[in-house]
Symmetry: C2
């Protein structure tokens, strides 16, 4: 592992790669922001995590503002394509863009923001089905924006079936009652993010799964195949202002998975798992990077992606997983990829090609499931399947050949308590694998390309890597 | 298994056992209640579960009122000792007694009510320590009534450390803040029953365990031995008005155990687990039965207990486990019991003798733990240890020689969907074991002595067994 702890401070090096970067950038002596000339054609893009990298809770991390001053020119325009890839999912993209603009002091567009639920746009087979959504914030608006036309919320279920939610003594119905409104039968469940009152959501989601969507009924006997379940954001924990990480949606999923297992004896299965570290998320992020470059008139193909994050199990694992896919793709012939896709297609992975259930394409690093195949082993096949199953053509043709991971120490990762693993010495044991059940522990995937103190250092490192002008000292 | 589906209706049989029951009881022709003469000396007692047996949610089960008419004489006094053994724990005994009096139409004293937390009176080593309590209802009053003098609640922790509870976006602090009040260091955690806002309780309990009670600190590195954790009520589910069972405290414990395991890689350990099916609960219940008999001047020793419940994993398992202990005790010499106690004492079971952690005396029926010893295998030893460790002398000397289990079909148990196991055909598989992690699945322990439709039939059955006068037809 290449640790990077000395910050690059040279003011003399000038980009010469590809011939068009010479004298491409200079820095404003007053504010430190970059000035570009029209010849500069970036061939790399940046993917920024938000929580633990740019903010902790609502508190901006000071290095973030400084970092972003380096990424914009004097007119406030980005000098390289930048996308914010967050596993948060409880608000609309525009709101997140507005928050970022305020925090970073540079204008951010909603097209630069990717939420964990963004890939749900692609799941058109569910858009006209009755879906139950779980989460907090404007979940109805989010679902409708994504294309879902027939949405019920946990609160709507509670109101219709007041006898089901019995944990809170003060919210129990005072008199026995029967459902007044006839809700349609639920046909799929979408978990956007961590809800509030977990007991209510856990109870009603399990009820929906065990009644096959007809909440007024008794539990069905056969629970071998429950309703399709799609989950966004697998983060077990995230870093806010508190000294230790806080529970995220992944913790809610841990509860749901184990309650379902305890009650039924069966494994909970996901039709799809979205958000970092899923490959799907990085495909989409690269698509946004390319779109941004095209909009700016940058015609150089995007060859490298840099993913900056604070979480080994999401940001680093995800970037490395996508990098592995890109490398495999680059080294494989088109024919070989097509063959792999055909094999996997016959092998039983779900129709969406995104299914990450224990019985299909992934394994767990902990205790609950077994599988003979692995996430990484099926990378090419899965992505090719995605292409086959309706992904937009832009998404089907990544131009990048690498996705480099950079870990910062301002969030979940704490260099004082954790020793990052390297190829020869895997110190993160499987027993404390903080990734999702359906993602295999793999020491190679949680090994960051670089570790830096904060996001400013990350940007400096990238400038060094790309042989761009450093900041004045 | 002796199924009992035809209800005993004889009006002619008269108790003759022990010579003093002849003509002991007659029935009032108007109300059906029993009339007793002063010679009647019951040598058995009844333990009634409440939810799913007498009520579903707030709705009385009609058979309950009829059953209790048979159990009282014309003056409303019980003709046999009766104790209500509930795993509920979120109210004071007097409140539960008042509710029961109203529902059953007979006066119930608080001395007839046993809550899951009642054995905490015995844990005097924690009474002067700072304990964090989790649950809902008057948890502070309950804790103080049990003898705890230094109690903090989850809400008190939230107020002191507002940055810790971050799941609900609307409850997050608007501005970063520091603790104002200095709470004492938490020294033990007591889980009374299912709380509300599980996300808050799960987060703060895990925080307390991982900071060794000092919530303002970062997580400690070593989590091998966390603070003592005492839990009451292990019921995974319970039966209210809804057609399917509702989540109970056991479901909350499933969440806590698996979050702790996911975050730390270690097993959560309990210093003690209270409530059915723990033997301790039945010891205490028998003590209350004997006290009641003594108060009524019934001098015949209590030889038999009948436990009526709706839940295989709590009521039936617990009664059978206690019955197994009573049988072992009866067949063992005092010397053999003492020897077993000495062996177990040297073997490392916790100082209280009540510890039920995976590493000590119990095994799990599911996936998470392994152990070489079993609940049943250490029965004699554990109970003897309890005697050694400060149990009141009354509790140390059970007079009963049997505890018979009777399953009713008005609650969690559904005869249409479940086939109860018998000795030759264990149909309840380990994969759907609904008991607690630390209680071993044992087909013999979930086999009810009898299955009847409802609690009225259960009382009739007991009268038949005890050769008492049946109800008029």
């Amino acid at each position: 592992m290449k640790a990077f702890n000395s910050i690059y401070r040279s003011v003399n090096s000038v980009c010469s790669r590809q011939g068009d970067r010479a004298s491409a950038l200079a820095r404003c002596g007053f504010c430190g922001s970059a000035t570009s000339n029209s010849k500069f054609q970036p061939d790399f893009g940046l993917l920024f995590d938000i929580d633990g990298v740019l903010v902790r809770g609502k508190t901006p991390i000071p290095a973030a503002k400084r970092a972003f001053q380096k990424l914009v020119d004097a007119s406030g325009q980005f000098i390289v394509p930048v996308v914010f890839v967050t596993n948060a999912g409880n608000c609309l993209r525009q709101k997140k863009a507005d928050q970022l603009s305020h925090i970073l002091g540079v204008p951010i567009s909603q097209d630069q923001v990717m939420m964990s639920h963004s890939p749900l746009r692609m799941f058109s087979k569910y858009h006209d089905k009755c879906v139950l959504v779980s989460g907090q914030g404007p979940v109805l608006d989010i679902a409708k924006n994504l294309g879902f036309m027939n949405v019920v919320t946990i609160d709507m279920l509670r109101e219709t079936f007041p006898l089901l939610d019995m944990v809170d003594h003060n919210r129990r119905p005072r008199l026995p009652s029967s459902p007044i409104v006839n809700l349609p039968k639920v046909e799929a469940v979408i978990l956007f993010g961590e809800p509030i009152r977990w007991e209510t959501n856990l109870q009603l989601i399990v009820d929906v799964l065990l009644t096959n969507g007809s909440l007024g009924s008794s539990y069905i006997n056969s629970t071998a195949n429950h309703l399709p379940l799609l989950a966004c954001n697998m983060d077990l924990m995230w870093m806010a202002e508190a000294p230790s990480p806080r529970f995220g949606h992944g913790t809610f999923l841990v509860c749901l998975e184990h309650i379902y297992k305890k009650v039924t004896g069966m494994e909970l299965k996901y039709e799809a798992l979205m958000g970092k570290p899923s490959e799907l998320t990085y495909h989409f992020a690269e698509y946004l990077i390319r779109e941004q470059a095209a909009e700016r008139g940058w015609r150089a193909p995007i060859r490298s992606l840099y993913a900056i994050g604070d979480n080994l199990m999401t940001d680093i694992y995800g970037a490395n997983l996508y990098n592995r896919y890109l490398e495999e793709r680059a080294s494989s012939s088109t024919k070989a990829v097509a063959k792999a896709a055909a094999v996997a297609g016959a092998g039983g992975a779900g129709g969406t090609g995104l299914r990450a259930s224990p019985s299909t394409t992934t394994t767990t690093g902990t205790t609950t499931t077994t599988s003979s195949s692995s996430t990484t082993g099926t990378t090419s096949a899965r992505v090719s399947q995605e292409v086959d199953c309706g992904w937009e053509s832009e998404l089907a043709a990544p131009s990048a050949t690498s996705c480099k991971s950079i870990l910062v120490c301002t969030g979940v990762y704490n260099p004082r308590t954790e020793i990052p693993p390297d190829a020869g010495h895997a110190t993160i044991k499987e027993t404390v694998f903080h990734g999702h059940r359906d993602f295999r522990f793999d020491p190679g995937l949680v090994e960051p390309g670089h570790i830096v103190q904060d996001v400013e250092d990350a940007v400096e490192l990238i400038f060094q890597q790309e042989k761009m002008l450093g900041t004045p000292v």
